[in-house]
Assembly symmetry: C2
């Protein structure tokens, strides 16, 4: 008999409890042991819950119970979750967390403490909700040198961008609709300004490259500036605007992580991942590329990932050494956004004659390094896409456009994967 | 220091050797141990190979070496692979195999022998090539009751169907092109008649539901009958023809696995998985659905999956109990194809007036149970799609169509996921 506890009885925590009792026989069979939910920690009272007798307001009750094998943390936020989990790990209790803010900020410390006490700090649910990505990335792709990861890691912004494209809703209206449906918070900044996606790409970057990438080191731009005109022009050029979180390994060994709206061509299946779904593309030297898609949030989808971690902790009570990273003591291994080489999706302030625009820009592009007449890969009457360029080349092109009286309304990078 | 051996130096086996030396530092770091390739077993001679001194023609050489921790089997076919792997497992040597024919035929015996000797029989590479699916299915989705799995599990047929749709090539021409590019064998039956996909859905079904599903129990139909007209009509109805391997859990607890060409609506991302890529959709009660896509074959992609198994075997030399299934002693838990409830994609022998066709069929469908006027979900001048029906309802509709002089050229099931 293995006992576990759940910290936080919000959406995810109550989902973990629900899922355990729903599929208990299957879960115990997979874990190879009978299991019991020992405690639910929450500061609120739930007198009518069928699990009322399991609630506690104090972590000490849980820490004092020697029978607890693993604790699932679904509270969110850095504190008190961090303090609680450090106390658990120090006692050899494994933890499973859905808390991306916590892992993005404190992952290296938690993982080191787990290692020191021969137990595990699992976090499958912290990225991509229901999507298996943490274990596949570090185990199934273990023989690969990872070169790039791209993802739609925030379902709220993907829902909003999708509504703008398919229903012609403005950003504000689409956000209001997302809030009405419970897909967006009343204070939507963590989603629409990219912070949530930033935390998740920090976790994937840290896991893939072994050094803790902190959110403050990652260029992050949200979707507030995206207009209906951007969505329509992207569609005309056979692509879609998506909030993309990515990390690339540069030739010098440094990595470049960032979060920003990008033009994604329809050739890449990420462009067609709609609504609240998430999708992650991993590029490695042996696999070429693999995609992982599914529900990125929600009660039972996220609980599924937490419960998988609980099962693993019950089965293997011994540190999984490779599923970790360390604090490098510096963030010098992270390149800044100015080093990004990318194509440009440029939307003009007024409609243009496409043929004349193309001719004009071909001349302009002659000054942009080696791109010259090949610089444009697609052109519509209101927008165009260039081949990949350095920042200097991009700046030069934008300056030439300004000189020639062509007003750029908005530009964003092209996802090249 | 952990030693491993590779059986079979064909495409996959030589890929495993190449990948090990290419990414050795990373692989050893993930495995938590230094590693060495001890032997390569092949009946052919490779005197010019840089690894010439590692070749052996006898499994006994490998079995006699007490330092061998894990053997990678990349020979293909049931024998002698089965005998060799049983010998390894009986000595406590873990195995990692890419051989789907072997696992589909002999999985239960191999897994039981691994369990009896406290070692592992891993087979991540047997389904989906580079795509992580075996571990994600049994570990990351462990808390789910799996209800359905759908997949494009054969890249050769997907390439052929894709060429028919996008380049207007006939089946014969597309097959010839696939053979020219090395995507199809000279004797293409295993691919185009669905046997390869059948073996893979047997493995996924056995893993998801715990009982060995043998290929002989699975209805299997290939793509030889698919015509350019089918591809064009499917496109007109916003979908694509794909060779789909699937398994569904029925309400009475039995399962229904099958392989057949299906109409896949474009709303499902599987319809847009092109070329030699594979994609697997897993439906579970907590996750809703998740998708796993990537290269389903090829030297390094498949080697990536084999090497991940080797790493796991080096790290955890102890049976992973839940990653297995047993022989149920009967195949009574498998339902036959006549029990499939599905919509129909019906293509007519001659073009029809779409409005008149719709009106006519609405009348015809009144005799088809509860479907009546709602029976048709999409109609083109040459084809239509119905809502889901039982076999009796389908037979009734086809009889009515015949009576009324509307000649059906071809029909196939609609993938409903």
């Amino acid at each position: 008999m293995k006992k576990f506890a759940v910290l936080g009885y919000g959406t995810v925590g109550s989902g973990v409890v629900e899922l355990f009792y729903k599929n208990r026989a299957k879960i115990e069979s997979k874990a190879g042991s009978e299991m019991e939910l020992g405690y639910i920690l929450d500061l609120r009272d739930f007198p009518d819950s069928p699990y009322a007798e399991k609630f506690t307001k104090s972590i000490d009750t849980i820490l004092a119970d020697d029978e607890i094998t693993v604790v699932a943390e679904c509270m969110g936020g850095v504190e008190p979750a961090f303090t609680y989990l450090m106390q658990c790990l120090s006692r050899g209790i494994s933890v499973a967390t859905s808390n991306k803010e916590l892992i993005a900020q404190k992952g290296a410390e938690l993982l080191a403490n787990a290692k020191a006490h021969s137990c595990n700090c699992f976090f499958e649910a912290s990225v991509g909700g229901a999507i298996p990505i943490i274990r596949p990335l570090h185990r199934c792709l273990a023989a690969n040198e990872i070169s790039e990861i791209y993802g739609i890691l925030n379902g709220t912004t993907n829902y909003i961008l999708n509504k703008m494209l398919t229903d012609g809703m403005t950003f504000e209206d689409a956000l209001a609709k997302a809030q009405k449906h419970g897909y967006a918070e009343r204070e939507p900044s963590a989603d629409v300004d990219g912070h949530d996606a930033c935390r998740k790409i920090c976790i994937l970057s840290s896991l893939a490259f072994g050094k803790h990438v902190y959110p403050a080191s990652v260029y992050t731009k949200g979707i507030r500036e995206i207009t209906l005109e951007d969505a329509a022009a992207a569609d005309a050029l056979d692509g879609a605007v998506k909030l993309i979180a990515f990390v690339k390994k540069l030739d010098d060994g440094r990595i470049l992580p960032a979060v920003m709206p990008m033009f994604v061509p329809h050739e890449n299946m990420i462009s067609r991942v709609d609504g609240v779904f998430n999708c992650i593309e991993v590029c490695g030297d042996a696999i070429d590329r693999a995609y992982f898609c599914g529900r990125g949030a929600g009660k039972l989808p996220t609980a599924s990932a937490v419960m998988a971690d609980i099962i693993e902790a019950v089965k293997h009570h011994k540190t999984v050494f490779s599923q970790d990273w360390t604090d490098a003591g510096t963030q010098d291994f992270i390149a800044g956004i100015d080093e990004l080489v990318c194509g440009m999706f440029i939307r003009f302030a007024a409609e243009q004659d496409a043929a004349a625009l193309c001719e004009k820009l071909t001349a302009d592009l002659e000054g942009c390094g080696s791109y010259e007449a090949d610089g444009i890969s697609a052109v519509d009457h209101a927008a165009l896409i260039t081949f990949p360029m350095t920042k200097a080349q991009r700046d030069s092109l934008l300056a030439k456009l300004a000189e020639s009286g062509l007003t750029v309304a908005h530009w964003m990078p092209v996802m090249e994967a």
